[in-house]
Amino acid sequence: MDVTICSYCRLTNDKVVVNGMEIPIQKTEGPWLNDIYRSLKISYPKFFKMDNLSKAGFLASELLLKDEIIDKENPKKDISIVLMNRSASLDDDRMYQETIEDKNNYYPSPAVFVYTLPNIVNGEIAIRNKIMGETSFYISEAFSAEKIYNVAMDAFSDESISQVVCGWTDYELNKCDVLLLWIRKENQNGIPFNINNIYHLHI
């Protein structure tokens, strides 16, 4: 089966690159992910409630799907979201732990707890774009183009799926490492979806 990368987005601590082009970001003293959000000129107030992992995945998905999926309203049953990372939701887990560790300062917050699952980022992207295909999250010790390739291709074993948003979404200890790909089966315009190309797009 021929699968093509329609677009890709690489998001790290100092750069945002979409389809090979660096996106200029107006930097402030504030958090980098918030700077990206403002530079994109999107209006989605829920963004500020998200944890860092969801913010990073959400921003990459906005850049990835910006031109192609203009319609954010109609349900899309033919798209799946399959993601992978190293640290699961540990960045948010550590924040939540702070709220319960001290018996004299015990204030568990549902708003923080809800992000203590890695697949919430799939949910955020699904909600924003009304994507109703499969959403799955896998954990791997290190970035692996081969594993990303395998789980994304497996998502097409559901025959009603024609497109997959896939890749690596990791955020831990202030280190952001995201490579998101939008792939489509039977589409000739674009980079072939294969292990070698995934590997090179992550460098």
Binding site: D93, T116, L117, P118, I120, N129, E134, S136
Partner: protein
């Protein structure tokens, strides 16, 4: 299609699948009220694995490993060991793949008072998976699925796909989650826990109970037919679909679950389905949502149950535990009661069973839904 070759459940109801099934069939619940537990300000109704029994079971396994394992890892290892022990499969073979389904793994090690003996990497799910598969000398990197409460179903779907097109002959699917101050306090902050035994699909249902379990299902390809036990159950189909509605609340329409069910049963005669083992967490919204999805897919006449009144919600283990128990019931020509249910009431009326019934039908449908808007359905059949 892949076949179940062996299984095990470690829970408050026992350390073998057979003990667990016998208790459930007798109507015994593993849920217990803990006045003070996990250093929490509130009491808790939960199903907890007995510490001493777990230690004994772990020490009875002869191993050369010098690793200091956590409670979570010990439970997963004991479960996989006991499932493997019933087979001739060599877990050290390169034709065997381990798949771990968990939501929080060793998360309790984030607590500074509990982490001292362990290296900092131990909170990573891949690290636990490495230690579990290497305990058995398995040479292949384990797959880790972490998909909230549908993880146990997602792991079985992953096994089905991998066995279909890869060189692996066997998948050892382990679902495990332990309780901790972290997990319980979070659910308490959501106000989603009941301090009584939960009441799935009941008029007065008021929340879920949490539970601990480690469970293992060993799947094999259909080609290895001579290895398939007499009472084996096979996984025919499975699907996952998102609600695209809310990250922590079930869809108000059941749209995502409908899609997952439709994809799963599309080639099946509904008359062959003995029962639906629902997620049935006993939160007001979840059970209503499931009643809508079951009705919208035309399955409202089928018998429905939930096993949460026996085990509580065992999170990443739930999909594995409940698939095993439902499979045992199917092979035993039994449909299990929905423990905890007194007065049935959901948005759409369902046929939820209040006592065990017999049925010689061949299939059952397993449903799960979770945070992040994900829903899963599995279809299984008697051999």
């Amino acid at each position: 299609m892949i076949y179940q070759l062996s299984d095990n459940i470690i829970s408050s109801l026992g350390f073998t699948s057979e003990e667990n099934y016998a208790a459930v069939k007798e109507g015994v619940s593993g849920l217990k009220y803990y006045e003070t537990a996990f250093d929490l300000p509130e009491g808790l109704m939960a199903s907890c694995i007995n510490d001493e029994a777990l230690e004994d079971a772990f020490f009875s396994i002869k191993t050369k490993s010098k690793v200091l394992y956590t409670r979570f890892e010990k439970a997963a290892i004991v479960s996989a060991y006991r499932a493997l022990e019933k087979t001739n499969i060599n877990p050290a073979g390169d034709n065997v793949l381990f798949i771990l389904s968990t939501t929080k793994g060793n998360v309790e090690l984030l607590d500074r008072n509990k982490s001292k003996q362990y290296e900092s990497e131990r909170v990573y799910l891949w690290r636990s998976a490495q230690l579990i598969s290497s305990f058995f000398g398995n040479p292949t990197e384990a797959v880790v699925v972490s998909n909230a409460c549908i993880s146990g179903a997602a792991a079985q779907i992953t096994a089905m796909r991998l066995l279909k097109h890869s060189a692996y002959d066997f998948a050892v699917v382990i679902g495990a989650d332990m309780l901790s101050k972290f997990v319980i306090s979070g659910f308490q902050s959501f106000k989603s826990l009941s301090t009584e035994i939960c009441k799935p699909f009941d008029k007065n249902r008021c929340g879920l109970n949490l539970g601990e379990a480690a469970a293992t299902l060993i799947y094999g390809k259909s080609e290895n037919e001579n290895l398939i036990p007499e009472k084996s159950v096979m996984l025919l189909a499975g699907a996952i679909a998102n609600d695209a509605n809310h990250i922590s609340g079930p869809s108000r329409t059941g749209a995502g679950l409908c899609i997952a069910i439709e994809k799963t049963i599309q080639h099946t005669n509904i008359q062959d389905i003995a029962f639906i083992n629902a997620h049935g967490t006993a939160t007001p919204y979840n059970d209503d949502m499931e009643s809508m999805a079951i009705t919208d897919t035309g399955l409202q006449a089928l018998a429905v149950n939930s096993l949460k009144g026996f085990f509580g919600h065992t999170l990443g283990a739930a999909g594995v535990v409940e698939t095993i128990i439902s499979g045992k019931a199917l092979s035993d020509n039994t449909i299990l009661q929905c423990k905890g249910l007194e007065i049935q009431e959901t948005v759409c009326p369902l046929n939820v069973l209040m006592k065990n019934e017999s049925s010689n039908k061949t299939h059952f449908l397993k449903l799960l839904s979770g945070f992040g808007g994900c829903n899963a359905a599995l279809l299984l059949r008697k051999k």
